[in-house]
């Protein structure tokens, strides 16, 4: 965090990381430099750097409490960082908040929704808050609800939705303004396999048309199959970042993750639990 840029308005040139595969002239979708946050005595994020190339499907993996959610909150303008800067497509997130937020769609984890609205009302609300006109909003709400298989529950209050449906309606709220960068914190948690596959298709289509997606997840398998880039975060530090193949090498992502993060119990343990 010593090299934290001091309010410079333009992003630094992408660091020469192996991550830069998306064409030399395309500005990265997200650049993070020296981002740090402390809560009381606990350092949640310890001055991380990250480059997310434009058009990539970027996975963010890490154990519980690694600082994923804190990092993503700071990168998306929800939580003010103590140090460091973030640029989204060249726009400084904390100096030009509105401009940066227009480029981003955010699905935060662990926050409530305005759940006394119906699903349809909630997504409409998200669109109107962004200053979109009513006709466009109505059209996109209809498309989104159909694509996410929520059309028949459009009029149900979100408070009566299941956990998976709630995730999906939050995702729809993040997509309504057709952002260039999607930041999704645990988007697949408690989503059923069919819906998860639908969401994956939507995201793949979005990436292939030039959008950028960042997802955080615990599920290594999913990240390995779905993402082309990955960063491993633990203890508030980035342990590895790059294309999935570069990071995992010959191993599976899961094994590499365990190797990087450590902490596996190698003992015999719980012998009494064995039933035979």
């Amino acid at each position: 965090m010593t090299d934290a840029p001091k309010n410079s308005a333009s992003p630094p040139r992408p660091a020469p990381l192996p991550a830069a595969t998306g064409g030399i002239d395309a500005p990265p979708a997200l650049v993070i430099r020296g981002l740090a946050k402390r809560f009381g005595g606990k350092i949640a994020v310890n001055g991380i750097d990250l480059d997310v190339p434009s058009g990539s499907f970027y996975g963010l993996v890490g154990p519980n409490g690694a600082g994923k959610t804190t990092s993503l909150s700071m990168a998306t303008g929800l939580l003010r960082p103590d140090y460091g800067s973030v640029w989204v497509h060249g726009v400084n997130v904390w100096d030009h908040q509105l401009q940066a937020k227009k480029l981003m769609g955010i699905l935060p984890d662990g926050v409530r929704l305005f759940d006394r609205l119906s699903g349809e009302q909630l997504v409409t609300y998200a669109g109107l808050l962004r200053g979109m006109d009513r006709e466009t909003v109505a059209e996109r709400v209809k498309d989104l609800l159909a694509a996410l298989d929520l059309a028949k529950d459009a009029g149900t209050l979100v408070v009566d939705y299941s956990a998976g449906m709630t995730k999906k309606i939050a995702l729809a709220s993040a997509l309504i303004h057709a952002p260039r960068l999607l930041v999704l914190d645990e988007p697949f948690e408690s989503v059923d396999p069919i819906s998860a596959a639908n969401i994956r298709d939507i995201l793949q289509g979005y990436v292939s048309s030039g959008g950028t997606v960042i997802v955080s997840s615990h599920v290594m398998d999913l990240v390995q199959r779905m993402c082309d880039h990955v960063a491993v975060i633990a203890g508030g530090n980035v342990l590895a970042a790059g294309t999935v193949d570069d990071v995992r090498g010959a191993m599976s992502l899961e094994d590499k993750f365990v190797e990087l993060v450590g902490g596996r119990n190698q003992t015999e343990g719980l012998t009494w639990l064995r039933t035979s």
Binding site: G77, F114, S118
Partner: protein
């Protein structure tokens, strides 16, 4: 197992004290208050030993019956007053029913309400100290009665648990039950006015109540003291029977609740109903207003304000009916409007972390502030007009209508200006979405209370000019001052409203992430 449950309760109590020093201060203040009441109760009960037997019996029986009713009703009203040992949390542990019942019942004594009720009930020993037969009976019956209180409230909660797990019931019950509660004062006033001969009526009432499960236990020592041993025996049997019946009821409903996980089924509804979103303009401000207005009707935390605000001036009116003086009606409009306006002073705290959507979309501070104010004004203005017109009609003071209108408009505009700044600056530990609106959440502490008090005082100062003019107009019977009040209300209110939106909007834009962090901490 019983000891485990008791230890768990104590541990929960202790840990809840550990959260913050401010909370400790709040609890100490509340504790001192409770202790004061307790001491008063015990002293009063001991003093009853000096009065006539019949009077002492009347007081003890009626007060005791009231306490039992309180224990029965309050948990239903405030679903989740004390959920520290919510039976639902024991579903996954195979605790034997008998031990679970005993543990939960005894743990009721360990809470503040249980302990105070028990100590006060034991105070009845002091009432009967002159009667050797009644004194030990008072001890037994006090414990019996308090145990009945605890078991009754537990039975009530677990019996309604299945019902209460449906969201719609929770939303409705809280809101509907507030009405009789608000009207309680006038009801009692009119009742007592009707019963002119209170001194004759109350002992008769006590005699009747003592033969019901509500008052039986409390009346046993009194009957012993009076020498009516047969009567005392019958009532004691009745009290024990009541406890047994309640325990049985509790047992079966608990058994049912333990195997029926909380579940609410909803009916799927198709789209096409945008409600208020269709009525307001399709701008960020309009959207915020539509969302807020939807919440006024759908979220019990807001609906409660919506119900209290129109009812409360009615309460004043009914109390005024006795004296035939309806002067308060001139202020009813301002009171109702003021209540509605103040209820959005913690609007962002009520949003809880759902506020993240506002931060994520980068909605401007002005749009956020203006939208919330607009929704409130849409509700408050018609209500205020109605009250002002009714007041003028009842009192026949049409000439002074501009005055009460001015005060009402001033209250509305100045108040909205104030809360626009206030809610962008301060957050509170408000009841979370879906909680009972009665549930006071721990951790609000003293400082937050003072802050709200200060805000409310500030509200008073802002509308003081209009208020003074209205009072002067009434005092001097000069219509000129009423018109002045209207002018001041419109101009000063307008200026304060515009200023409040501006300052609040700027404050919001600058502090939106900090506000989100604050409500996430409170959550």
């Amino acid at each position: 197992m019983v000891a485990h449950l008791l230890r768990l309760k104590l541990l929960l109590l202790r840990n809840s004290l550990r959260r913050s020093p401010m909370q400790l201060v709040g609890i100490v203040v509340a504790g001192l208050y409770g202790l004061g009441i307790l001491v008063l109760a015990i002293v009063g009960l001991a003093a009853l030993s000096a009065v006539e037997l019949e009077v002492a019996k009347t007081v003890v029986v009626l007060a005791g019956a009231a306490v039992l009713v309180g224990w029965l009703v309050i948990p239903v009203l405030a679903a989740g007053v004390d959920t520290t040992l919510d039976p639902a949390r024991f579903v996954t542990f195979a605790v034997p029913m008998r031990e679970l019942l005993t543990g939960l019942a005894l743990s009721g004594f360990l809470g503040v309400p249980g302990a105070i009720t028990l100590l006060a009930a034991l105070g009845t020993i002091g009432t009967w100290w002159k009667h050797p037969a009644a004194m030990p009976a008072a001890l037994v019956c006090a414990v019996l009665a308090v145990l009945t209180c605890i078991v009754a409230s537990r039975a009530m909660t677990s019996a309604s648990a299945n019902l209460a797990s449906s969201r719609r019931f929770k939303d409705l019950s809280g809101v509907v039950l507030i009405v009789p509660l608000v009207l309680l004062g006038p009801i009692i006033t009119s009742l007592s006015q009707g019963l002119t001969n209170l001194a004759e009526y109350l002992p008769a009432l006590a005699r009747t109540v003592s033969w019901t499960p509500l008052g039986a236990a409390w009346s046993v020592p009194a009957d012993l003291a009076a020498g009516a041993y047969g009567e005392a025996g019958l009532k004691f049997l009745m009290a024990v029977g009541t406890l047994a019946a309640l325990t049985w009821l509790w047992k079966i409903s608990l058994a049912k609740a333990l195997v029926t996980p909380a579940h609410s089924s909803g009916v799927s509804r198709g789209g096409g109903r945008l409600g208020f979103f269709k009525l307001f303009p399709g701008t960020p401000t309009g959207a915020v207003a539509a969302r807020s207005l939807t919440y006024w009707f759908r979220d019990p935390r807001y609906s409660m304000g919506l119900i209290i605000a129109p009812v409360l001036p009615l309460v004043f009116m009914i109390s005024g009916a006795g004296s035939g003086n309806y002067a308060v009606l001139d202020f009813a409009a301002a009171i109702a409007v003021g209540l509605l306006v103040w209820s959005i002073s913690a609007d962002i705290s009520y949003d809880n972390t759902a506020f993240a959507l506002h931060v994520a979309t980068g909605v401007s501070g002005t749009a956020d502030r203006a939208g919330r104010a607009l929704a409130c004004a849409v509700l408050a203005l018609p209500l205020g007009l109605l009250y002002a017109l009714v007041g003028a009609a009842v009192n026949g003071t049409w000439a002074f209508l501009p005055g009460s209108l001015g005060l009402m408009i001033g209250t509305l505009l100045s108040g909205l200006g104030l809360v626009s700044v206030f809610s962008a600056r301060f957050t509170f530990n408000a009841p979370a979405p879906g909680d009972s609106p009665f549930k006071s959440r721990p951790g609000n502490g003293f400082a937050a209370g003072l802050m709200q008090l200060a805000g409310f005082a500030g509200f008073g100062v802002l509308v003081l000019p209009e208020l003074v003019l209205v009072v002067v107009a009434q005092g001097t019977r000069q219509v000129l001052f009423a018109w002045l009040a209207l002018a001041v209300g419109l101009v000063l209110g307008g200026v304060l409203f515009a200023g409040g939106l501006r300052v609040g909007g700027r404050l919001y834009t600058r502090r939106a992430p900090e506000l989100l962090l604050a409500v996430s901490r409170d959550a």
